[in-house]
């Protein structure tokens, strides 16, 4: 699943160049497109990564946070989260990442229920990971273009665990879907995820707080053509064509 072994074999300094920063190994190395080696998931191979600059819709910064006992260290939170990421997701959605936990350059496959029986198969790329935070970046066709950063830090007498999503819907269809319940569904998704994480860490039940800021109200109509890559449409079409192909296959005869 590793798209690029982020820092394996990476020199600590390049001759005649600026020394690498102390967190160089925490960043993924550059990729132009995700490849079939990335796990072979539907709507992943050949896709470019997309950040909030590339999306279509309004830009949102959504922050979800929960306060835990200070006895739970930020490093313990992130180690558990990176190591068992998909286990905290709501049951209707599946996350298939490396068994050893998330590392920079990894690609994980997603199969997400988006409501009404519709599913979305896509992936995410691990852009950055250190001991107190990690960031995922989305590919073309994902519901949104952006980054999701998971972090934990000590703040006064508590450990604050945070999920921050910086995103634009990737195309006009997704923008419409986000406006028609998509944002609410995403809020529920991360609230459930963070509640499950807190439970796993042995924390007392707490409230997941939420703050949503519209960073940019403008839509980027020049990127409307990204609807071609829409993974929700492609997942539906794949399901229909697979069902038709199964129907056309002759039934096995009696032996």
């Amino acid at each position: 699943m590793r798209e690029n072994p982020a820092s394996e074999g990476r020199p600590t300094a390049q001759a005649g160049r600026a020394p690498l920063p102390r967190n160089a190994a925490n960043w993924a190395t550059k990729v132009d497109r995700l490849t079939a080696d990335s796990g072979g998931g539907l709507n992943v191979a050949g896709r470019r990564l997309t950040g909030p600059v590339q999306g279509f819709g309004k830009m949102w910064r959504k922050t979800y946070w929960i306060e835990l006992s200070p006895e739970i260290s930020p490093r313990a939170v992130i180690a558990t989260w990176k190591g068992h990421f998909g286990e905290f997701w709501p049951k209707a959605s599946r996350f298939k990442g490396p068994l050893t936990g998330l590392s920079p350059g990894d690609v994980a496959l997603l199969d997400v229920s988006v409501g009404g029986g519709v599913r979305l198969s896509t992936g995410v790329f691990v852009l950055y990971a250190d001991e107190e935070s990690f960031t995922l970046m989305t590919p073309q066709g994902h519901m949104f273009a952006g980054w999701i950063t998971f972090s934990a830090e000590r703040s006064g007498a508590v450990t604050v665990v945070r999920t921050q999503v910086l995103m634009r819907a990737n195309d006009p269809l997704y923008e419409l879907a986000m406006a028609c319940g998509g944002h609410r569904k995403e809020d529920q998704f991360w609230t459930q995820t963070m509640t499950a994480l807190a439970q796993r860490l042995g924390a007392a039940p707490g409230v997941v707080h939420r703050r949503t800021v519209c960073v940019d109200r403008r839509r980027q109509w020049g990127n409307a053509g990204q609807v071609w890559h829409n993974s929700m449409v492609r997942t539906m079409m794949h399901s229909i064509t697979s069902a038709l192909a199964r129907k056309r296959q002759p039934a096995p005869g009696p032996r």
């Binding site: 920063p21 967190n23 550059k30 990564l49 600059v53 950055y128 935070s133 980054w147 910086l166 960073v215």
Partner: protein, 115 residues
């Protein structure tokens, strides 16, 4: 996460361009300092902004996210954003995150000012 140790100094670059010298660590915690620098540059009448990363020590994904926020604010005011002084490592990060498609990357200050 470490609290960011950042210093941002605004100076006039060339005519209506302001240069923001960024020193130290750039993380999400640097946002107030960067936004204050942006506002100072705008007050000085900057029509274009150049970020000088020559003394950047460290940047994490929170720092990259903060640059997107700055980019949106600058775009809203029709102020193009450019950068120089990025190490090979951070130049690669700008390419990976595709920030380089919105922020012009240059080798040095004269070429960034010439834009």
């Amino acid at each position: 996460m470490d609290k960011s140790m950042t210093s941002m100094v605004v100076r006039v670059g060339d005519g209506l361009t302001s240069v923001i010298d960024i020193r130290g660590d750039v993380t999400a915690a640097s946002e107030p300092a960067l936004m204050a620098a942006y506002e100072e540059a705008s007050r000085q009448g900057a029509r274009r902004l150049v970020l000088n990363f020559s003394d950047l020590k460290y940047m994490n994904s929170g720092g990259i996210g903060m640059l997107v926020t700055l980019l949106v604010r600058a775009n809203r005011q029709h102020q193009p954003l450019a950068a120089y002084g990025l190490s090979d490592h951070y130049r690669e990060i700008f390419e990976l995150t595709r920030l380089d498609e919105a922020i012009g990357i240059y080798d040095d200050e004269p070429s960034a000012l010439a834009g």
